[in-house]
């Protein structure tokens, strides 16, 4: 239960961090440490080098740029939780943040660390898929953008080259008054979700859904966009029957099985939680974002 021996590096610039990453064999990047540190303590990972990003300048910010909200990779989950920009422009993110771990872990955990760790049950990973986020990866040759749908290449494996660092992520806000909801089932408050559902909706004045994003987290090896549900809703005025029928398609998700739940239970949760998230999101269409989403 103690970390194995390694060499420690704490670069001050992104360029230095990338240089170290390119030069050193068997190196791991340390962001907020809420996943890597337990893995070091339990010796699941045995790196020769740890490159700590906590003293790198310029990676912690939340700003509006070109109509998108850009978040620096080392921005702590706590900063997202208390950001008015996040609450008003990305309210789904604020609702999800409050379900990530605990105050003690959100004070340290970062958005970039969570996205790179890429646990399919992680709230921020599910949000990346739901918002069609854009990941900015920086390597020796400069920065490139990766669409979130191309970011997870396998279970807990991001589409980053070995010498690249995730430096920022951009989220496109939905229009003012959109519906949103993040609903998850976990055994205890703050645990990883066994399954979660993230919903974004807009409707025309007649109540017809004209845009929908429905994402299931924790059920499969990567977050899954429930495109069948989205297609069944767009163009329709939702009724309880329509929601119920549309969400049944989530039972077809190729779900994982582990100590917490069998695949069939996750498929059941996907159908139930997506319906509950849709119901909640519908009640919020046209409403101002509440000051507190607890």
């Amino acid at each position: 239960m103690k970390p194995p021996p390694f060499s420690y590096h704490d670069p001050r610039t992104v360029a230095d961090a990338i240089g170290l990453l390119g030069r050193l064999e068997n190196a791991k990047l340390l962001a907020g440490g809420q996943s890597l540190m337990p893995m070091l303590n339990m010796r699941y990972v045995l790196p020769d080098h740890v490159i700590d990003l906590n003293r790198v300048e310029g990676l912690s910010y939340i700003r509006e740029t070109g109509g998108a909200i850009e978040i620096g990779a080392m921005t702590r989950q706590r900063e997202l939780e208390f950001s008015d920009l996040i609450r008003t422009r990305l309210p789904l993110m604020q609702e999800a943040i409050l379900q990530i771990g605990h105050r003690q872990t959100r004070n340290r955990g970062t958005i970039g660390g969570s996205l790179c760790h890429l646990d399919p049950a992680a709230e921020l990973v599910t949000l990346g898929a739901g918002y069609d986020a854009t990941v900015v990866a920086t390597g020796a040759g400069g920065a490139r953008e990766i669409a979130f749908k191309d970011f997870p290449v396998a279970y807990m494996t991001p589409a980053l080259e070995p010498n690249e660092i995730l430096t920022a992520v951009r989220f496109a806000p939905w229009p003012e008054g959109h519906g949103f909801a993040f609903v998850e089932f976990a055994r205890r408050h703050g645990d990883f979700a066994i399954t979660s559902a993230a919903v974004l909706l807009t409707a025309d004045p007649a109540g017809r859904i004209n845009r929908a994003s429905v994402t299931i987290g924790g059920a499969a090896v990567t977050p899954v966009r429930a495109t069948d549900v989205e297609q069944a809703l767009v163009g329709q005025v939702p009724t309880p029957e329509l929601l119920r029928e549309a969400c049944e398609s989530c039972r077809a998700i190729e779900a994982i099985e582990d100590i917490h739940a069998p695949a069939s239970y996750r498929q059941h949760l996907a159908a139930v939680l997506s319906r509950r998230a849709l119901e909640k999101a519908l009640t919020r269409i046209g409403q101002p974002v509440p000051a507190k989403l607890h």
């Binding site: 239960m1 103690k2 970390p3 194995p4 021996p5 390694f6 060499s7 420690y8 590096h9 704490d10 670069p11 340390l30 440490g33 809420q34 540190m37 337990p38 070091l40 303590n41 339990m42 080098h49 740890v50 700590d52 906590n54 706590r78 900063e79 939780e81 208390f82 950001s83 771990g101 605990h102 105050r103 003690q104 872990t105 004070n107 340290r108 205890r188 408050h189 703050g190 607890h294």
Partner: protein, 175 residues
Amino acid sequence: MSEQKRTVALTVNGKRYEKEVEVRVTLADFIRHYLGLTGTHLGCEHGVCGACTILLDGRSARSCLMLAVQADGHEILTVEGIAPNEHELHPLQEAFRDNHGLQCGFCTPGMLTTLLEFLRDNPDPTEQEVRIALSGNLCRCTGYQGIVNAALDAAKRLQAGGAQWPAGMRPRAGA
């Protein structure tokens, strides 16, 4: 820049320390074994039980999930720094004593540090808010009811008495 030992300079409970430490040593082990402050407890060593919670620059963090070298230049508060002096308890600690907020005491350092930050940021919490705030701290003795009662009682005492905060823990709004 590449080495397996470093010198760490930091402030713990208002006192300045400078020690050479192996870089793989966690902040929790550093506090316990290098500084001799054994009030910070280690239950699980993988970020689940909350017993090792300390305040880093006034914010709660699990000291088993940080390296000691990462605390270089920072200010730490541990359970030993909560009471105003050797003879008096902090109102939060008094509330724990009066409400059966502890039995074996193993989880208590983490409960107190967690609640110190929580009550600074939420001076008048509901019971539900207290339960959520404590959801990252495991207690195997009390069934939590005494701890929740102590937290609610402490909130009243702190408001009535004009909140008393250890050095480096001034009340601050929001983020």
